[in-house]
């Protein structure tokens, strides 16, 4: 006999609302239906009522984890409409903050995944590591959530003490190699909870158009930092970790390896950072009529902004945001099919969902 279990909108594992109706035969999931929209704030519509300064502050609030990525993508699009190119130092600072954000997002996710596996010691370890990254972000920007780093034509703040950031990178890298990666790769608990669970095949990943670590864990080697470099990524050397298994363990491994790559990118950006201006100046911006688009590789995958402007206007005519979770979340339905009901919270968490981004 089949029965339906509604999971959510108060999620048992993640502190954001969405709902999954699971159809089960015994303990096995045979179908699932997703319901989102509990966080729908109409931000895109609201953006049309904000001027070019206010809209940056507004879009920074689309997401509480990758807030910097949203302003980076928006500012890059608006730079396309104003014809401004940020100075080299600003591009490097954008890379540093984007990678710090990736670090804290991935470490946060590793902690939550550990907690869902019943591995609370690892949860505490990961959150202690994340605090180190958050401290650096706070030292740079004065903020822990919305850093207000990006502006049209550059960045608002400099990174004066690059040595302090490098010190944190070294400490994080050492701890990842000493505890987090060995435990996640060799522990029986991690293996039994993650291996061959919530598999998304390469074919399905391509068909659904999933992005970021979810795609890379299913053997799809896409990363905009490599395929369509922005900011100063063209000058960075790094690998794009790809796993073939498509299960929760593969998603875990991709993110763990990406933490190491982020550390490498940070080291390069901080040591090679050129001196110079932080932005193009304080003159009034002249927007041309038209649409500009920008894409950035956020911690969860590709973010795309389409911004439309009418010459002479202070407000955008349209701001459209395509977030990574919006395209990754439909994959959950395919990941939970045939899986045990008890594994579904971890499977859902394995895409590192952001409902706030998804609903906007």
């Amino acid at each position: 006999m089949s029965y339906k279990i509604p999971m959510g909108p108060y999620h048992p594992a993640l502190e954001e609302p969405y709902k999954l109706d699971l159809i089960c035969e015994g303990e096995t999931v045979t179908d699932a239906k997703l319901h989102i929209g509990f966080n729908f704030r109409g931000i895109e519509h609201l953006a049309e009522t904000r001027n070019y300064i206010q809209v940056i502050a507004l879009m920074e609030r689309v997401c509480g984890i990758c807030s910097n990525i949203h302003t980076l993508t928006l500012c890059q699009a608006m730079e396309g409409l104003t014809g401004l190119t940020p100075p080299p130092r600003a591009k490097y600072i954008r890379v540093v903050v984007a990678e710090l954000e990736r670090l804290h997002s991935h470490v946060l996710w590793a902690g939550i995944a550990a907690k869902l596996m019943g591995f609370k010691t690892m949860f505490m370890t990961c959150f202690e590591l994340r605090e180190k990254v958050m401290d650096v972000l706070q030292a740079i920007s004065g903020n822990r959530v919305n850093y207000s780093m990006n502006r049209i034509g550059g960045v608002n703040r400099d990174i004066e003490d690059t040595q302090a950031v490098l010190k944190m990178v070294e400490a994080l890298e050492a701890e990842m190699l000493r505890t987090v990666i060995p435990i996640f790769t060799t522990s029986t608990t991690a293996r039994s909870r993650c291996a061959a669970i919530g598999t998304l095949t390469t074919e399905k990943a391509v068909s659904l158009g999933v992005v970021g670590p979810v795609a890379r864990a299913s053997g799809v080697p896409q990363d905009l930092r490599r395929a369509a470099p922005y900011a100063a990524y063209e000058e960075m050397e790094f690998n794009v970790p790809v796993e073939q298994d498509g299960d929760v363990r593969a998603r875990l491994m991709v993110r763990a390896l990406e933490i190491m790559e982020s550390c490498s990118i940070l080291r390069q950006a901080l040591t090679k950072m050129p001196s110079g201006e932080l932005h193009t100046g304080t003159e009034k911006f002249n927007f041309i009529t038209g649409t500009a688009t920008s894409r950035v590789e956020a911690p969860r995958g590709e973010v795309m902004y389409s911004v439309s402007w009418k010459e002479g206007s202070r407000n955008p005519a349209r701001v459209h945001v395509r977030t990574p979770t919006f395209v990754n979340m439909p994959a959950i339905r395919w990941m939970v099919l045939g899986q045990r009901l008890a594994d579904t919270p971890l499977i859902q968490a394995s895409i590192d969902p952001c409902y706030s981004c998804t609903d906007r």
């Binding site: 319901h35 989102i36 929209g37 729908f40 109409g42 895109e44 519509h45 049309e48 699009a77 396309g80 409409l81 391509v206 068909s207 659904l208 158009g209 896409q222 905009l224 490599r226 395929a227 369509a228 038209g290 649409t291 500009a292 688009t293 920008s294 894409r295 590709e302 795309m304 389409s306 439309s308 005519a317 349209r318 459209h320 395509r322 919006f326 395209v327 979340m329 439909p330 609903d359």
Partner: protein, 135 residues
């Protein structure tokens, strides 16, 4: 000749690509969105999104379809007659949520498919992103 240069001919279009705002744009001309989706599938392009624009005054709506081809963002604008356009959901399953969101935000009817509420709830009025409230 790049892969990009060969696409207009494959699509049966005499238009040329226009590089603007970070996107390679191609006017689809007489091509339908379903023909375009089939052509993009044949090229193994990755569907990205649909962006809906409400045009000034009573000029209606424009939908911009985006695909990624080896890191290059491609854009195809479609001006809507009324508020209807064919769905490509059966050709490209990645389009499901964005067609539903565009339906709810701009009251666009994607013909040939069924909807379930996405961001709104059953019975809610669609068109929440339109400038004027839908009567």
């Amino acid at each position: 000749m790049t892969v990009l240069d060969t696409i207009p001919e494959k699509l049966g279009s005499e238009e040329l690509w226009v590089d603007k705002g970070g996107v390679q744009w191609l006017n689809p001309g007489a091509m339908t969105v379903r023909e375009l989706a089939k052509a993009m599938n044949a090229l193994h392009a990755r569907f990205i999104t649909i962006t809906a624009y409400q045009l000034p005054k009573d000029e209606g709506l424009r939908l911009e379809y985006h695909w990624d081809l080896d890191g290059q963002l491609l854009g195809f604008p479609f001006k809507l007659e009324g508020n209807k356009i064919e769905s490509i959901f059966d050709l490209c399953e990645a389009v499901d949520w964005i067609e539903r969101e565009t339906h709810e935000g701009f009251s666009v009817e994607f013909t040939g498919r069924e909807y379930e509420p996405l961001l709104l709830r059953e019975g809610d009025t669609t068109g929440v992103n339109l400038r004027e409230e839908k009567k």
